[in-house]
Amino acid sequence: MKRAKDWLPGLLLVSPSIILVAIFVYGLIGQNIWTSLNVSRNVVTDKITNPGGWQNYTQLLGSADYQHALWNLLVLTVVFMGGTMIFGLLMAILLEKGINAEGVFRSVYLFPMAVSFIAAGVVWRWLLSPAEGPDQAIGLNQLFIKLGLPELQNAWWSADNRFSMAAMAIPAVWQLSGYVMALFLAGFRGISADQREAARIDGASEWQIYRFVLFPQLSPIALSALIILGHMSMKMFDLIYSIAGANSYQAAVPATLMWTQMFAQNDRVGAAVNATILLTIVAVVVVPYLIYTNRTEREMGS
């Protein structure tokens, strides 16, 4: 152990941040959990809306609205993560060998990352508008008519079926594919050319080179990308709020349902329960990942 005189100044320099993070991250999380365990009554009828304690949790988890929102979140997450990973990987593969105008394509693919979800949501609300028929349809439906493919018209996220949330993943895929591309592109560029050359001399086909030489080395990047996309999906709010409106039932996910509980239903406690569950879901994914990367980093001796 070093002498306190050596390390104390360091601790002092970070102490403002430690205090702020302690209060605003951990203190507020604690307070939110505390709120979620309260008893609450309807202000008008005085009927108990939340019985208090863990029953608040079983009540929300059991409610049809919440389960509907969870199902939507599952559909959204699967399509969003799958679509973004596939698109991003394809873009990276197309670009990784270096082509003319590579910089242009990279910039174009990445540009949606600079745009806010709210701004993107406004355009995509127009693109995904549900009206059909030549005189009514705008957005993609009208484009399908113009392209002579009217049978492709559909109501997108507001369609009346269990998988309509898949349409909400389209704008999210649009926004984040370029990011995944950038990650994979950096990964490809980090692999030395000798390895490919060696595999080629051994008679490996292009596909085999990707499959057995390149892809295995990209798996840490793929894991990071999956974690980042997964946790973005869990808390996705802006985009859905912007496209479907504030209190859409059809497009509800836990993050937007929390807004509805808080402001439309005036149920603070229920909203706090919802937020705590959301935090738990994210933590279950992220904490093992943080521990894992922390350990690998230490093993690498940094």
């Binding site: 152990m1 104390l8 100044p9 320099l13 403002p16 993070v21 991250v25 507020l28 999380i29 939110n32 709120t35 394809l90 873009m91 197309l94 060998k97 270096g98 082509i99 394509f105 990445l110 540009f111 600079a114 745009v115 806010s116 979800f117 709210i118 701004a119 993107a120 406004v122 355009v123 995509w124 127009w126 693109l127 009206a131 030549p134 957005g139 484009l143 990011y179 950038a182 950096a186 990964g187 560029r189 030395s192 840490p220 990071s224 974690i227 946790h231 709010f237 802006d238 709020y241 912007s242 993050a255 603070r268 959301l278 994210v282 990942y289 943080l290 521990i291 990367t293 922390n294 690998t296």
Partner: protein
């Protein structure tokens, strides 16, 4: 990417294209394969640029020219009315967002530099635990703090009336930006700041603050650019905090854009012009400083 320093260093920004990894363009691979590649590249490009076409074309139409059947056509006559209307509504919030973005960028970067320096080179007992606890703060869904945060800040506003709107958001974004900025600076100093240099400074009798000021800060510019761009962009693009903590009168541009777009009878030219106006600053940053922008993304696009 978050905590991994092994996959790609956050700063300086991304590896330049290296032709050595593959074969030179056109040297191998059949004409058919190359054609296929271009077809796919262009298809992806089309998918990405489609909304941009809609935005630009619609923003230049007159309101009466916006009908279902002409939705995808070029404007029959060019009009700046949409842009003028959007500007009238968005100018004040655009100014507020500018103040927000710049203040947050500066404040977060200063805190990040201090923290990153300590976590990388002036370690204290328990620092890895503290750092991990910081990192988790980067991943939390902000919904999990929003209800008590809103109540707490309203109480403060009750005591000090100036603490409202943009001031609130500056404080909140600076605080919740601490983890990412700390991470970026820590990773930067871990590679860019030689231990020997610091040891020499210590031998010469320089204290921590003096070392920080005269040795560390002068080499920190690349990391500052990355965190400032990152924080500016996330503060500019944020909607969740804006929605919970500000109002129509004192909110940032994302709030105002949502109001503009949410009316009963949407006026598409001004809405689409509004989207472009509200996205212009971050797009300009992206176009001018793209390399650094990507550097920030690589080190942890987590918000």
């Amino acid at each position: 990417m978050t905590t991994t320093t092994d996959t790609a260093p956050p700063v300086p920004a991304p590896p330049k294209p290296r032709r050595t990894t593959g074969h030179a363009p056109g040297s191998k691979g059949s004409v058919r394969a190359r054609t296929m590649r271009w077809v796919f590249l262009l298809l992806f490009g089309l998918f990405i640029l489609l909304p941009l076409y809609v935005l630009i074309v619609t923003s230049l139409k007159v309101s009466s020219d916006v009908s279902a059947s002409t939705a995808w056509s070029l404007p029959s006559q060019l009009s700046a009315q949409g842009w003028i209307d959007a500007w009238d509504q968005l100018a004040p919030p655009l100014g507020r967002s500018l103040i927000l973005g710049v203040s947050v960028a500066v404040l977060s970067s200063i805190l990040g530099a201090m923290n990153g320096f300590v976590f990388a080179r002036w370690r204290f007992p328990g620092d890895t635990t503290v750092f991990t606890l910081f990192l988790f703060g980067m991943f939390i869904p902000y919904q999990a703090v929003m209800i008590p945060l809103q109540a707490m800040l309203l109480t403060v506003e009750g005591q000090a009336a100036w603490f409202q709107g943009i001031v609130k958001l500056i404080a909140v974004h600076t605080i919740f930006g601490i983890p990412i900025c700390t991470l970026i600076f820590r990773n930067y100093y871990a590679t860019a700041l030689p231990k020997e240099l610091l040891e020499a400074a210590t031998v010469d009798g320089a204290g921590m603050l003096r070392t920080f000021r005269s040795i560390v800060l002068p080499i920190s510019a690349p990391a500052f650019v990355v965190t400032m761009i990152w924080q500016f962009t996330s503060a500019w693009n944020d909607f969740l905090f804006a929605l919970f903590l500000t109002t129509r009168q004192n909110g940032p541009v994302t709030y105002a854009l949502n109001e503009l777009a949410g009316g009963q009878n949407p006026d598409y030219p001004s809405i689409m012009a509004g989207v472009l106006l509200a996205s212009l600053p971050t797009l300009v940053v992206y176009i001018l400083l793209g390399r650094y922008f990507i550097g920030g993304l690589m080190s942890g696009s987590v918000k």
